[in-house]
């Protein structure tokens, strides 16, 4: 493989890592509170509110049902507003984040819902309010699941970022399509896939290690 190709591969890897990390962090930042809100406003939740719950549920489902490639294009005006341009790696982070946030919110919601209601009751019985329940019970008790879900989200983002090539964001997926698929350069294709496998395995390994360290349940 030529020197230029290696440089291209490294640059693409960096673009993929950047897109995955930035949109992953944003989805964590917004998805976790959204997941908390979905659980809290649900029936029997700590801030039960049917209207808010239905509204949030509808918004989450709405974004999740739009195919990412369409979201990528449909969000161009918003992307331009936020990033200033609608093409490039940074521009891809906007639609990636907006797709990953409701996705992660649902995953976080599942973990938060699994927290034993008896624990919430115990903290209420000791005089704790909603904030104490969130901070002392819901988040810490669901943390292994929250981290495991974040790992899943990151891996999904690695895959989704391949489509970001459509708006010139670069990245490994884009490299594989342009060089490997469209120009029949099998070596490039194989190299990209190998790098992707290593990247995904790395993310999963770190995530699993963190979950094992956090989980005090057994």
């Amino acid at each position: 493989m030529s020197q230029t190709m290696l440089e291209l591969l490294l640059r693409s890897l960096w673009e993929t890592v950047l897109m995955t990390a930035a949109s992953g962090l944003i989805s964590l930042l917004f998805g976790l509170p959204l997941g908390l809100a979905l659980v809290a406003t649900d029936r029997g939740g700590i801030a039960c509110n049917r209207w808010v719950n239905s509204l949030l549920g509808a918004v989450v489902n709405g974004f999740r049902s739009v195919p990412f490639i369409i979201l990528l294009v449909a969000l161009i005006p918003l992307t331009r507003l936020i990033v200033g341009t609608s093409i490039g790696t940074w521009a891809a982070i906007v639609p990636l984040s907006i797709a990953a946030t409701p996705y992660y919110a649902r995953i976080a919601e599942v973990s938060l819902r699994e927290v034993d209601r008896g624990l919430i009751e115990a903290v209420r019985a000791m005089g704790g309010g909603r904030w104490a329940i969130i901070r002392e019970v819901l988040v810490p008790e669901a943390l292994p699941g929250i981290v495991a879900g974040f790992t899943v989200t990151l891996v999904t983002l690695v895959g989704a970022s391949a489509m970001a090539g459509a708006i010139g964001a670069g990245g490994l997926g884009d490299l594989a399509i342009r060089y490997g698929y469209q120009r029949f350069e099998t070596a490039v294709m194989v190299a990209v896939v190998a790098v992707l496998i290593v990247l995904v395995c790395g993310i999963q390994w770190v995530g699993d290690r963190m979950v094992a360290r956090l989980d005090r349940r057994a």
Binding site: G118, E121, A122, A125, M126, G127, G128, E136, E141, R216
Partner: protein, 361 residues
């Protein structure tokens, strides 16, 4: 008010004043779920320093009742006073500071798995806003009290059930509550562990003068720790009184049925052969207090003409009072049955003729 509980080594207040003060008062409490009333007009008083046990079968409403006391459950009507303050009708936010005056322990312990033992114990104080050093110091005191000082840094998953409940007790006591609510706290534990947890609760009750209100479906729990018992059935208190007197003379069907497991029963072999007539009359003799302190059988043997034998029975000590049930087989031939009953009744024993048997067994 809280003075007696100010230190862990605090001495209990004098007995009579301890019982004169009311900590919890419930007036005509009602709570229904849909069409079924769970609590249907309960009135109860818990006095300072006492252990009140509420017993009932599952579904009798005891859990709903105890959960109303700290506002985890909202009553439909009626009033609840804790330390003289009415808590029914308060908002969730208004209830929060009051709940710190009410400790609670649970059947499934409800310890936070992500927090260490000391963090669990210190949590009520964290919620209250105490600085970390202070709350960890208090947690250490309490872990010492429940005998788990060496487990402070451990996580709940590594503890046995009994140890978990000890942590639960320490946590419930952290904020120096006026009353401890126990929601079937020993129901998930084996008999031996149950005994040690009950002994700990009794010890805390005596050492700290802590008022305890517990619910259970096991008479054994009532027997070993409660001063007074209230029997609840279908959402109503059907019987209430000192534990020993309820054991000696249960008034309600529920109390009798719940007692059946731990009071002497006529052996099945004899019960199966009871008939309308026979060579011996089988008497059930219930004695308590004075009647159980005297040499009753010896007196009976020398006073009546007929012979009798002891088939089954025993005398238990409950709250320092002897409470017993004896099953006697009295020979009918000499006509001593009526005399025996009369003799025993005169000595405050309750006698019931269960039936007759012919062959010895």
């Amino acid at each position: 008010m809280t003075q007696h509980f100010a230190t862990i080594e605090g001495v209990p207040p004098p007995f009579d004043t301890a019982l004169s003060e009311t900590v919890v008062r419930i007036v005509d409490l009602k709570r229904r779920f849909g069409q079924t009333p769970a609590v249907d007009g309960v009135s109860l008083t818990v006095r300072k320093g006492e252990v009140l046990g509420i017993i009932g079968r599952s579904g009798a409403g005891k859990s709903t009742l105890i959960r109303c006391l700290n506002g985890l459950e909202r009553p439909d009507s009626g009033q609840i006073f804790v330390e003289g303050r009415e808590i029914s009708g308060l908002s969730e936010r208004e209830l929060q500071p009051l709940r710190r005056r009410i400790g609670m322990i649970f059947q499934h312990f409800n310890l936070l798995s992500a927090k260490s033992v000391e963090e669990n114990v210190a949590l009520p104080l964290k919620i209250e806003g105490l600085p970390k050093a202070e709350r960890l110091k208090r947690a250490a005191e309490l872990l010492d009290l429940v005998g788990l000082a060496d487990k402070a840094k451990a996580y709940p998953a590594s503890l046995s059930g009994g140890q978990k409940q000890r942590v639960g007790i320490a946590r419930a006591l952290a904020a120096r509550p006026a009353v401890l609510l126990s929601d079937e706290a020993t129901s998930a534990l084996d008999p031996e562990t149950t005994r040690s947890i009950l002994a700990l609760l009794k010890d805390i009750n005596q050492k700290l003068g802590l008022t305890i209100l517990l619910i259970t479906h096991e008479m054994e729990v009532i027997r070993s720790i409660a001063d007074r018992v209230a029997v609840i059935d279908a959402g109503r208190i059907v019987e209430e009184g000192a534990v020993w007197s309820t054991f000696a003379d249960p008034q309600s069907e529920v109390a009798r049925s719940l007692l059946a497991g731990i009071r002497p029963q006529l052996p099945q072999a004899i019960a199966a052969r009871l008939a309308g007539t026979g060579r011996e009359a089988i008497l059930r003799v219930d004695i308590a207090g004075e009647a159980a302190r005297r040499p009753l059988l010896s007196e009976l043997a020398t006073s009546i003409p007929g012979r009798f034998r002891l088939v089954h029975g025993g005398i238990d000590t409950i709250q320092g009072e002897p409470v017993g049930t004896l099953f006697l087989a009295v020979e009918t031939a000499s006509g001593g049955v009526a005399e025996t009953i009369e003799f025993l009744n005169a000595r405050k024993a309750r006698v019931e003729v269960l039936g007759y048997v012919t062959d010895n067994a």
